[in-house]
C-alpha cells in the first residue's frame, strides 16, 4: 500500500509484535481444520506423556495433548480479546467523542463521572461478581472485561477528540456548514483512529491476561473448552513434579500479551503524524 508506506517506517517493535500476534492468529485458524489430537480426548495411555514421540509438547494428567490444547486455547484467547475490545470500543469511542465534542456540557460531565466510577472498580472483581450472578463462563468474562475497558477507551477518545476539536480544519468544517454529527464522522473519527487502534491493541493484551486470570480462578472458560488460563490452573497441583505443564500455557500468555503490547507501541510510532509529514512532490 503506497499510502501506508508513506506514513512511517516499519520499526522493530511493530515487526516483532506483528509476528507474535500472527503466530497466535495462525495457531487459532489452523486449529479449526487440524490439531495433532482432539484437544479434549482423554487418553490414559498418554498420561503425563513426555514431550516428543507423537506428543510434541507432551500431554497432561488426563493424557490430553498440550499442543492441541494450546492451539484451540488460542481460539478462546482471541475470541475473548475480540469481543471484549469490541464492546469497549463500540461503547467507549462514541462516549469519548461525545464528551470531547461538548467539553463543558452536562452530558460530557456525566459520561466522565460514570467513567471514573467504572474505572475505580477492579475489572476482575466485576467479572467475579457477574460470574456469581449470571454463572461463570467465557461470555460473562468477556462482557465483564469489555465493560471494564470502556473507560480506558472513552478517556483516550475524549483526549484525542479535544485535540482535534481545536484544529482549524474543524473550524473550517463548521464554517462550511457541517453540523456536529458530520464533524464527528468526517473529521474527528478519522483523525483519532490511529490513537484508537493503539488503544485497542493494548486493551487486547489486557483482555488476554484478564481471561487467563479469570479462567485460572475458575470464573472464566468452563471445561472442557480449552483455555490457556484453565491449563495453568490444572497444572497447579503438578507444578513441582511436571512444571512444563505450567510452562507452555504461561509462555503462550506471556508471548501473546507481549505481542499485542509491542504491536500497540509499534503502531503508535508507525502512525505518528509527525513522521507522516513527508511531501511527495513540490
Amino acid at each position: 500500500m503506497r499510502g501506508l508506506a508513506m506514513r512511517g517506517r516499519l520499526n522493530a517493535g511493530l515487526v516483532a509484535g506483528g509476528a507474535l500476534v500472527a503466530v497466535v492468529v495462525l495457531a487459532a485458524l489452523v486449529s479449526f481444520v487440524w490439531t495433532p489430537y482432539d484437544p479434549t480426548l482423554v487418553d490414559a495411555a498418554a498420561k503425563l506423556h513426555e514431550p516428543g514421540g507423537g506428543h510434541l509438547l507432551g500431554a497432561d494428567k488426563f493424557g490430553r495433548d498440550t499442543l492441541s490444547q494450546l492451539m484451540v486455547g488460542a481460539r478462546t484467547t482471541l475470541y475473548v480479546g475480540i469481543v471484549a475490545v469490541g464492546i469497549a470500543a463500540l461503547l467507549g469511542t462514541p462516549l469519548g467523542v461525545l464528551a470531547g465534542m461538548t467539553p463543558r456540557g452536562w452530558l460530557s460531565e456525566l459520561v466522565m463521572r460514570v467513567n471514573d466510577l467504572v474505572f475505580a472498580f477492579p475489572a476482575l472483581l466485576l467479572a467475579v461478581m457477574l460470574g456469581a450472578v449470571y454463572g461463570a463462563g467465557t461470555l460473562t468474562a468477556m462482557i465483564a472485561i469489555g465493560v471494564a475497558t470502556v473507560p480506558a477507551f472513552a478517556r483516550v477518545a475524549r483526549a484525542a477528540t479535544l485535540q482535534v476539536m481545536v484544529t482549524d480544519y474543524v473550524l473550517a468544517a463548521r464554517a462550511a456548514g457541517r453540523r456536529g454529527g458530520a464533524v464527528a464522522l468526517r473529521h474527528v473519527l478519522p483523525n483519532i483512529s490511529s490513537v484508537l487502534i493503539v488503544q485497542a491493541s493494548v486493551s487486547f493484551a489486557i483482555a488476554i491476561l484478564a481471561e487467563a486470570a479469570l479462567s485460572f480462578l475458575g470464573f472464566g472458560t468452563r471445561p472442557p473448552t480449552p483455555s490457556w488460563g484453565r491449563m495453568l490452573q490444572e497444572s497447579q497441583e503438578l507444578l513441582f513434579s511436571t512444571p512444563r505443564l505450567a510452562l507452555w500455557p504461561g509462555l503462550a500468555v506471556a508471548l501473546a500479551v507481549l505481542g499485542f503490547n509491542l504491536l500497540g507501541d509499534g503502531l503508535r510510532d508507525f502512525l505518528d503524524p509527525k513522521l507522516r509529514r513527508i511531501r511527495a512532490d513540490g
Partner: protein, 274 residues
Amino acid sequence: MPTHAGTPRAENPGEPLIEARGLSRVYRRPRTSLLRPGAAVHALRDVSLTVGRGERYGIVGESGSGKSTLLRLLCALDRPTAGTIAFDGRPVTGRPERDLRFLRENLQIVFQDPMSSLDPRMRVRDLVAEPLVALGLPVGGRVAELLDAVGLPAGAADRYPHQFSGGQRQRIAIARALAPRPKALVADEPVSALDVSVRGQILNLLADLVDELGLTLVFVSHDLSVVRHVCETVAVMHHGEIVESGPVDEVWAAPAHPYTRALLEAVPTLEDLT
C-alpha cells in the same frame, strides 16, 4: 490615489452586506479557586463596523487585538456576549446553527495556515466539495472547475493536502471557500504562513477572484502594508477595540491614532534602502 482593482460587480454596490453593532465578547479564564470564578478576559469591547457590498475591508491588529475573535463572531463560529451582527439584512446573532444556512452559503472563510485548516485525512476532492455536501448542494463537476479557477491541475483532486506545498494548499483552501458561490469571503492572514515568492501569487489570485466574482472581502492581517495592497477600507484594532478606521490610503498617509502610528513605524521596510 491608486485605482481600484477592476469594478466590483456586486449587485447594489455600497449597500451594507455585513453590519456589526456594539459587539463585545468576554471569556472566562478557567477558575483557579473554588470560591471565585475565573478572571474575565475582554477579547472584544463594543466593536461596530459596516462592510459594504463589493467592498474590500481590511482589519489590522497584532496578537491579542481581538481580530480573531471578531472574525469568529462574523462567521457565527462563536457568540458575542453583547451586540448584534446582520448579514445581507438578516440577523445572525442568536440563531441556532440550522437557521444559519443563508450565512454558510454566502460567507466563507480562508484560514492562515493551510496545513492546519485542511483535514489531513481527506482528499482534495472531498475537501473542496465539503461546503457543497454540508449544504446539500450538487457537487457535479464543480471541483474540477474550482481547481482550475485557482490554478491547480485536475489531478490534484485525488491527492492529500500534505502532498502539496504551502502555496498550493492555500489555493485548495480558496477553491473550497468559493465552492458554494458565496457573496463574501473572509480571509484570516491568508498569506502570513507563506514564502515571499508565493505570497504574491496568492494575493494576485485573491484579487482576481474577488474582481471576477464580485465578492465582498474581509481581509485580516497584522501587516498594514499588505492590507493597503488589497483593501480600500481598513479598521485598526488594539486591545479589543477598533481604534481607527477609514479609507486605507488616508489612514496610511495620516494615521490619527497613536497606536496606528506606532504600528506603521514598527514595520520594517525595504524602502529606506532604495
